[in-house]
């Protein structure tokens, strides 16, 4: 809701309504929600005045969790958001306001700070100026800290949080544990801090391991002792992780030695499948273990492939969830862990159900679909917003992939900004065309039909001539090739990129899904080409589930025609000579249920070929599969995956959804490693191979 549009009269009335019809605590949250949807200065002041009064009894120990969405590298934009919420926190008399990790820079930073060293200097300048405006409210602001000038051992920067109040910087807290796996690359530029918690302000930009101050590592604010850490610093409890942790130091354990009243953690933690349960249980464990509340503030919004879900939260000293901010939304959440002030906004529903379940390994998608949907929506929306794009054009084939993409795009950037183009060939059935058109109508997106017949014909004519010439020099022409299939896919991409070039701020969409990308079953410069690939991390079986979920849960029900969900996926690029009908993808690959379970086992359970061969798949419970067929499918999977590596390397940006993703910044493998023997040899075989060399 945008309250700026309200007249002053209406706005005052709205506030009065809230105040008159709600409990005191409820009022605080309702008014805060209005504040989040407001930018007019006088309106904000009205809310501030009300909140200040309401918060008076909760003042001591009160904290604002400023869950905001930064733009990577845009210091001014991020800093202004920080300033807005510092002023707000001060106006309403909070003890403290906390921002996510590296908030001035946006997380992740990657090589941005190396190619643009100016932004590090800028984020320090902004930090110092922001410090000056602080009064009695303490602000925790994350930034990239240059270590020192001159001689240096280690990386150039710290990942730091500055503690600001009374017009100055009071302390600097530096991150000790540096995630360097999956999408994380902290150690690339960041030096691990040799000490946890607070160090004096005058160490800013001039700190080294041999200068560690022997002062308290916790800090006192309004009589309470706080232990501050940064993101990964709180993810290393040996007991919770069953003695299998990534680092030897546990910063929380270190801080606990000073018996803080409250732990604070500034985070930038992207959402992934199954991570919510882990995070919930882990934070709950810590607060209980140390009998102190933990206040966890997370970044929200997407930066390229990483979609941060927010869901900042507070656990009380008994490990009970006291407050949780919204998922996938900016929010300023006021809490008082000591006095039990807090509100629990819902997580995505399915997740909520399974939150305390221990069994993390399951192929079940059901609990995850709302999260999947929102992760992608946010990923698409922020990619468009932050790169300055507004419109999307995509091919609508009447198949599942393009259909789901169209729904996601309509919801992410607005139906009016989406153009669906049905681009039939002579193979395209009238059902497919109708399904595409019906979908467009249901969604309210723009739609047109443009035949690729002429394009395909002309291209084919040109190429047949060219091939005859090449054949004179090269005697390696395939008897059967996929050239014609690819010409169709590429002609369509030619149309979409054409529209993108001709109309302002318009991106074409790559509609490939995860199962098909794993199999290299996507055309380069064809369906896998685009400015963004919304479903590149969603396997086909989950897409079916997602389609059904969207039909049930979107405001407009059943936007996806049932026929699209019911028909067998196929690219309609070629005719199956056996059936005379368009080729079905599963005929060329293998049953999607089986395929998706292979992917899931590799990504989640790190299984070997032999593990899979020797254990029963869910698919097999219903459909007996002979050993020969199973071997054939597994071999096909590994063989095709190895030749798909190149395609993954040129995949457009896509949002990470699953616990692993073939996204090149998440799960990378040299293209030239395609000759891996995925089956392995036994020792006797190896011995024999070696002796044959003598």
């Amino acid at each position: 809701m945008n309250y700026d549009k309200f007249t002053t009269e209406d706005f005052r009335q709205k506030l009065n309504e809230v105040i008159n019809n709600n409990s005191e605590q409820e009022c605080i949250y309702k008014l805060s929600e209005i504040y989040d949807g407001c930018s007019k200065k006088d309106y904000l002041e009205l809310i501030d005045a009300q909140l200040k009064t309401l918060l008076e009894p909760y003042k001591n120990g009160s904290i604002g969790l400023a869950q905001i969405n930064p733009v990577a590298g845009d210091i001014e934009y991020n800093a202004k958001k920080v300033v807005k919420y510092i002023i707000h926190a001060q106006n309403i008399g909070l003890d403290m306001v906390i921002f996510p990790e590296l908030i001035l820079m946006g997380y992740p930073i990657e090589d941005t700070i190396d190619r643009h060293p100016v932004i590090v200097r800028e984020n320090v300048k902004w930090l110092k100026e922001i410090a000056k405006i602080t009064t009695s409210t303490t602000a925790l602001v994350g930034f990239v800290e240059p270590r020192k000038s001159g001689h240096l051992t280690g990386k150039k920067y710290y990942n730091s949080v500055a503690v600001l109040s009374g017009g100055e910087i009071k302390y600097i807290v530096r991150k000790s544990l540096l995630p360097t796996y999956s999408e994380f690359n902290d150690y690339r530029y960041i030096e691990p801090s040799p000490v946890v918690g607070c160090q004096p302000a005058d160490t800013l930009g001039n700190f080294d391991g041999d200068k560690i101050c022997d002062c308290a590592k916790t800090m006192i604010v309004n009589g309470r002792k706080y232990g501050v850490s940064i993101c990964e610093d709180c993810w290393n409890n040996k007991e919770f992780f069953n003695d299998t942790t990534l680092y030897s130091l546990d910063p929380i354990e270190e801080l606990s030695k000073e018996n803080p009243d409250v732990f604070i953690n500034c985070s930038a933690s992207p959402t992934r499948a199954k991570k919510e349960q882990l995070k919930h249980n882990m934070l709950s464990f810590i607060s209980q273990r140390y009998s102190a509340p933990i206040v966890y503030v997370n970044q929200v919004g997407a930066i390229d492939n990483s979609s941060f879900d927010g869901s900042s939260r507070v656990f009380d000293k008994d490990g009970k969830l006291l407050a949780r901010a919204k998922s996938f939304k900016e929010q300023f959440l006021i809490v008082n862990p000591e006095m039990g002030l807090g509100k629990i906004y819902p997580l995505t529903k399915g997740l909520e159900k399974t939150l305390t379940e221990q069994k993390i390994y399951t192929l079940e998608y059901e609990p995850d679909l709302e999260r999947t949907y929102k992760t992608i929506i946010q990923g698409v929306r922020d990619y468009f917003n932050k790169t300055g794009f507004k419109r999307a054009v995509l091919g609508l084939s009447g198949g599942l992939d393009s259909t789901v993409c169209a729904v996601l795009l309509a919801d992410a950037i607005g139906a009016e900004n989406v153009f669906g183009v049905s681009m039939p060939s002579k193979i395209t059935s009238s059902e497919s065309k109708n399904d595409a058109q019906k979908l467009a109508e249901n969604l309210g997106i723009n739609f047109t039909e443009a035949s690729i017949k002429d394009m395909v014909e002309t291209t084919n004519n040109c190429l047949q001539n060219l091939f005859s010439t090449v054949e004179k020099s090269w005697n390696c022409r395939y008897k059967q090739s996929f050239t014609m299939d690819n010409i169709q896919a590429r002609s369509r991409a030619m149309f979409l990129w054409g529209i993108s070039n001709e109309f302002e701020r318009c991106l074409p969409i790559a509609t490939s899904d995860k199962s098909e990308l794993y199999m290299g079953y996507a055309t380069i410069n064809g369906d896998m080409s685009g400015g963004f690939a919304p479903i590149a991390d969603v396997p086909k079986t989950k897409l079916f589930a997602l389609a059904r979920w969207m039909n049930e849960n979107r405001e407009v029900k059943n936007a996806i025609p049932e026929a699209v969900i019911l028909k067998k996926p196929g690219a309609e690029l070629a005719i199956n000579p056996k059936t005379g009908k368009p080729l079905i993808a599963e005929d060329a690959l293998m049953p999607y249920e089986f395929l998706d379970e292979i992917i899931w086992r590799i990504e989640n359970k790190k299984e070997y070929y032999s593990d899979m061969l020797n254990s029963e798949f869910l698919y097999e419970k219903k459909n007996p599969v002979s050993k020969e067929t199973k071997i054939e499918w597994l071999d096909k999977f590994y063989r095709r995956m190895s030749t798909a590596l190149y395609k993954w390397s040129i995949l457009p940006p896509s949002v990470i959804v699953d616990s692993r993703s073939i996204n090149k910044f998440d799960y990378k493998q040299p293209i030239t490693s395609s000759r891996i023997n995925y089956k392995g040899c036994d020792a006797a075989e190896i011995e024999q191979k070696i002796h044959s060399l003598f």
Copy 2:
């Protein structure tokens, strides 16, 4: 030279010739060269017998540097090479044979070991079987070591070297310093070793920080004491690097405490501009500093973007270069650091000249061109070999980019395997067509002409209709667009990918150069699309220099028509309305000399916008540039670079040549970070911006 083709008679005669006409030392190297070009067992045995006799006086302290080219993840292939050279070293009675870092796996490994955990198990199995065949020659073999099963603190693996002899594993050496910058990602999976040098063999797969053996860290082989380290471990001398190092520990310093007679370093160190000088001086410094020779064995060959130059080397105890293996070639180099047995094979010539120069920052390309040429040749060749491709097809426009690519491809994979296609449009001049054809003739590559006229016409017709429809819904059509330009580039790519689909093992080539990629001056699915991008890390001014260098230094002189080098670069995609002639790239961008110096300053000197604005460019020395124009160019550069980020993310694999590269695995930046304020603000401005928020 392939000696397998020789008859036994001829082969014996060849050996006799060598033996009769050379000094003893020279004989050793000549025979070794023949060995490297041989695979017939009886021929190898003949050489072994001769070498054994020749080496008798040098036996004590003799070492073989096995500089080999592994395939990432292909354990069997790599292990068999290791076995071949262990047998060889044993046959000729060497004390030791040393292989590059992680040789069983190939470096880098990236997420390969996570997606295919089977290969870690395999590399250990192979290692154990290889150990069994060792006799009196000690072999140093790099492998990925699983740390231990069960509870674990830290990453799962070590980067280790096993010391094998007498049929068993004697020691394990583990890497302590983990490069995690540029193209390196060691810390992603590797735990830094808590101790340098040798640990007992029974720690294999079961080592932890609390189990450190208090034994000697050096090892004795045939009465000599060796200090073994792995790659980065030797790059941390505080004195050499002027007290600015990446790690606090210096493994060489640690090893030196036991006064080793010789240092050994197993490396996988890719070549980059200016790295040779640094490496040469650094290794020389270390051997001199500790008065002990250092034997440095480097990987050769390319794995995806990283091209390893080999050039393994030995410095004597006075820091003098004693031996150096070939660059960009597999080689088995025999040395005896104690007795001064060694041979110095030339580095690329230009580099040799500047080897001991201190000034690393220079824009001069001259000394680097042979290295650039060989780096790319090896990068292309290994990419094709290791992925199983054999042929390449590329568009020949008669311009510099495609011309240089054609020469490089002809030299890398053989002229008969290259097809050049001239694809004129109505804008293409007859000069361009002639230049293309002449080049193809000079190179001996296959050539044909295929007009894109019909394609462009059909596409344009289809698109104009489509645009009219879209325009009815969207009122954001550009008045002037690049759509027509792009249709041409994409039609050409359609032809090339068509040929690639239709003919076996054939890759299309992306011909974009570094300067234009920095500016986003390349068409998606057009000239920047392909299976490999040979010159993506070569800026335009260096391409000119490289073209001249190739004309002078290739066997066939002046293959590149002079006209290609003389004409101003331009894509011939559009007519300049002012001149009526095809648009020149520099008109749309800025002078290449200026552009390339910006790139060079950012990558090499990490300069800010203001640094550049306030210092004189080399270009300015000859061509006065007004402040306004300079600002215009700098702004254009930063603006265009920020919108090119997406294009970089879908760039095909390309070989890293420069000291930084826009290659996405080397120098990455979020695409959504395009709003960076590259100019920065001063503190007063920031203060004012903050106060305007109150």
